[in-house]
Symmetry: D2
Subunit: 372 residues, 4 copies
């Protein structure tokens, strides 16, 4: 089609999140009818062979074993960074230097210093700097946010947040990279940032925490486990609400649970990512004899569900959230209002888990952002 | 990428199902890494302008207001037919005549004669003739099928099938096309074929039926409603199982319910499409004190879930089922074993609802395929 | 306490239902503060020793191995009949002859002739004649009835009824009394009358049926099974609603499922006895973005829940339903309006299953009450 | 019946819990066939008239407006104390002095000093001293305990405990007794002790806590609210497990939620009191393709469910738990092993909430039992 505006896309990494970005870049224009149409220009993987294979599958024009080729490619306008977390900072800084927009998977970095450097580079560049917090894109979550802002449950006074999976639950599994300190804190980095990104949108930022971390299996294969699979925290949010947070990556039977309970002066809202196409709401108004939690199924009334399926109750999937996120990244690039977690907010979310880790070490309440 | 094998795709229709096909043709190669890569060649809509707009959004190279242009396009190898049901037969026959493979939305046709003609044309052409019964592609459904065949619930002796939505539930809505006899029977065509396609895969074909149909709202805007929004049937299946079927497109609050209960000599399986990423299974074996229905969340152990997301419990969506179906169509085109509902089976499924309609008229049991 | 009015109670049978009656007679005054206080006078069991033991446990003053002693006891005013079904008719007739009120477990009898004789005797006696359809006493069911009558879901146009347990599901179990024709039809007598009693209250009587019955296990220990563990029917109700009924006492994993779906012109109601303290309701009114099925937990707003527990959501149990039923029997005896299934209605419910059995034999629709 | 052993019962208070005790004393012998049969001797209420009325309803022989009459009645062997919490200590001490067994509602007292005095008096008396923690009596909870001890979920490493209702959720409600400091802490006394009693049985005692309390509505009718409707805590349990606790009596829509999640090295167990007849269990063993949480319905295999209903899945109710508790009190009186929370354990549970209150005041971890 003539007259179509396009944008050149680079992708670094083709694992879980890399493929998810690739699918989103393929699907975003047909689904959301974005004015800006992605051209899949350049893809990087650890070696040339794998890179070429993935480029073929994903539909990228060029492939490389060296990620700097992507960053320096003049046809690339926006770079998806999905490489391992310790590499994020270097890649993002290089991309900003080359004048690219950046869409980086969370968490930003494995150190506060790196994350701050990334935030500074983003600020200086003037480019779009988005983080991969796709759960906030769920139409169900968006409707919860809209409803809360419209007063559907009154003033929020309490939240309970959980995120649990079981990929670290097997006590007989060998020692893995994620058991070492180099991978970060453990469940805090891996999980806690997700419900925190949600509560940030739905209620607001966390101001102070007291936290605890534990290791269900202190050693594997004779090596001491350095990370904590389980973490819990008490929260105080801006605006006065209190809360709890529990995250557990050794929770047998949980596969993708991100459970929210949000209590307000006129109602309560609940959600669980394992059933991502629905949420529960109780509102105090109405006939007492017929009062109860409603299970609301996502549908076209909840934007942008209808861009995917015109019939309600037919379900979006996990990958669809990334498509919506890609649409928001494109909106941001076009200068329109966009629903993304930028590097400012992303840093604030990560400061929250640093505060939790410090609280665990010191056994006291810690203000988020409080300097060590 | 050089050396890649491609296949030319034509698409007729860009509504609910047309967009769904378009998304699937875009996503199938990146997701499933099919050897054959679709090229989006030619798209038809009711008029040229809309056709061009959609071609731009969906990524098709050419657009037309005349569907025969797609069928006769020499670069097109396979045609997606998603136009209104009364047009299916003419389009499919033309496509087979032009030597194309056909992927047609269900139901095949609004008359038995047309459906039979389609079946004959498909046979004569030797081409792939697939129908859009995408619910059978769900990894959860596939696992249920595998489990049943592996004896997980013993010999199946009874089934209960339901499909309900509420788009015809509003008694105050105006008279619509779907209220007229030209649209078919009503809930039987619209809905019943879906659970029947599922039970066909999971248990087997239906041999005899007795059925009833009702109209919750006999008239709209002073015009008599000719279709039946509600239909129910008793079933006898090949192999001896009995069953019930209930379909209702005036079922307030149901949005995409397709509920199955399958009872066997050693267990029971349950499923509801509104929570399409899970199913329930009870097996008689095991400790009685801890016995109960298990809720199984779909994950990478259930093929081809893992091609979409490597983590369990993260949810596929409705559109992902079409991607899987596209992959099966490609497999069939390549001559590999494919999980599709072909025109033979599709005709048999449609014969079942014709038998139901006749049973309703005559008040007695009718054998499926019994001639009028 | 002086001045208290009391009523003498006789009990025949101390099995599942006998104990349930005994508990109800003990609990009804403390719970419901009935004006009339039961005195536990005389209990009959198959032999004197067991009778004495049960009388001690249940708090009855006298015990006998001969049920006629209870019926003829001048201090007994009301007789609970919980003996095996084939004995109901003789016992009830004797009790009416002796001028007693009768509270008899369902079904009335194993033959239509006996049931009719019981109905005639009840009419002639002028005494209270109540059947043990305790599920209708559930505060959740009562609220559903109230709501339906108040128009909460508009005009009812369709129902789906299910009752399933698994006590006959084991194909390896020995031949039992319930496998022989002397026990009745099978799932029809055992189960179908329960959902029919509920739909009778909630919507109205069934006028015509077409039904099917099947045997999952045709023989046990080499003997032919004569009953049908599975039965299904299509229903037409007075007032124009249609429906389906499925009952299965070989349904692995179901323990006490009585599932109702009631569809109306303005909403839908659902219930499952396995979670007897809640029901679901969808109402078309209200904000579309937040519409969904509400799960209503029973509480003091739903009479007479509050007589048991003053806090909502704390759960009544199965035995509490019998206490409420005992209270209704007392109300009837005192001449007040009472919510019981009397012998007139009970006979009509049983005629429905006879019509189903005949429909199965003849393969056609049968009007309820139509003579053979 | 001659030769029956009986025990004289006194009851102080006839509100929510008083009626619940009365129903239990009436039902315990018929239900559980206890060797010892309660005689309902003497009942006390705030005034003579109400006392007489309740005695008539509940079946007590004597009534009084002065509770000391009950305690000093020589025919009374065991006293049910269900008066307001501030009166428990005086009543229990008087009862022990008079040589009675005591069955007292929780919490023991509104001050630690009183609770300790009660514990000392119980010790000195040698009498049975039981607290009303009836949730531990639930057959579902008992089975969870049995399963955990049998290793069904391996070594417990984490727990999440919640208890929520909404009777304090209405911000427009007037200032009530429970809003004043004289009533205690708030949600901690009212609620937290319940899940703590459960985790005590299921896992073990809590050793250290850090806690937070908040007031959703700081004032009512212009008066400052002194209690906290919401409390949260992090827990460290003996044996190394960590945990969280959240309690909220202003949680709109929650009616009787007591939710437990117990994570172990080989599985997970979940429970919610709002559906008190079921629990969920995931066990790592078994076929991965069919793995998931099982919903186990309580039945006769879970003692003593079968004493109430011989059929599984038919549901016990809240009041039935008190009947089981009454049976345990009788067992303790007869010198048999009994499942009760005695005054030793009850005091330890209450020390946990005192530690939480102190932690809230001091902003640090507090050891349970640590002296102020």
């Amino acid at each position: 089609m003539t007259g179509e505006r396009t944008i050149g896309v680079g992708l670094i990494g083709t694992g879980f999140m890399g493929k998810c970005h690739a699918l989103a870049w393929n699907a975003v224009a047909p689904t959301l009818a974005t004015g800006l149409r992605p051209r899949l220009v350049h893809l990087a993987e650890a070696d040339n062979t794998l890179a070429r294979q993935r480029a073929g599958e994903f539909g990228f024009a060029r492939a490389t074993g060296g990620w700097r080729d992507v960053v320096s490619d003049p046809e690339v306008d926006v770079v998806s960074i999905t490489a391992p977390n310790p590499l994020h900072a270097e890649m993002a800084l290089a991309a900003f230097s080359a004048g690219k927009h950046v869409w980086c998977e969370k968490p930003m970095a494995t150190s506060r210093a790196d994350a701050r450097a990334m935030r500074e580079a983003a600020r200086a560049s003037g480019r779009v700097a988005a983080l991969g917090y796709n759960y906030i894109q769920n139409p169900a979550i968006r409707e919860m946010e809209r409803a809360i802002r419209a007063g559907a449950i009154g003033r929020v006074n309490h939240v309970r947040l959980e995120m649990d999976e079981d990929f670290m639950a097997d006590e007989d599994a060998p020692f893995a990279f994620k058991n070492g300190a180099a991978s970060g804190y453990g469940a805090l980095d891996d999980f806690a940032v997700h419900p925190l990104s949600l509560v940030w949108r739905l209620v607001g930022p966390v101001e102070a925490v007291v936290a605890d971390q534990t290791r269900p299996y202190p050693s594997r294969e004779g090596r001491a486990v350095e990370t904590h699979e389980i973490a819990s925290a008490l929260l105080r949010l801006r605006g006065g609400a209190s809360g709890t947070l529990g995250v557990n990556r050794a929770a047998w039977g949980r596969k993708g649970r991100i459970a929210l309970q949000i209590f307000g002066s006129r109602g309560t809202i609940g959600f669980d990512q394992e059933r991502m196409n629905e949420f529960q709401i109780f509102q105090r108004d109405g006939e007492a004899r017929l009062a109860g939690f409603r299970t609301v199924l996502a549908g076209p009334v909840h934007e942008p569900y209808g861009r995917f399926v015109p019939a309600p109750g037919h379900s979006l999937g996990f990958n669809d959230l990334k498509v919506i996120e890609a649409g928001e990244v494109l909106a941001a690039i076009e200068g329109r209002e966009a629903r993304i977690v930028d590097f400012e907010t992303g840093l604030a979310i990560e400061e929250t888990i640093h505060a939790m880790a410090r609280s665990h070490a010191e056994g006291r309440w810690i203000g988020v952002g409080e300097e060590n």
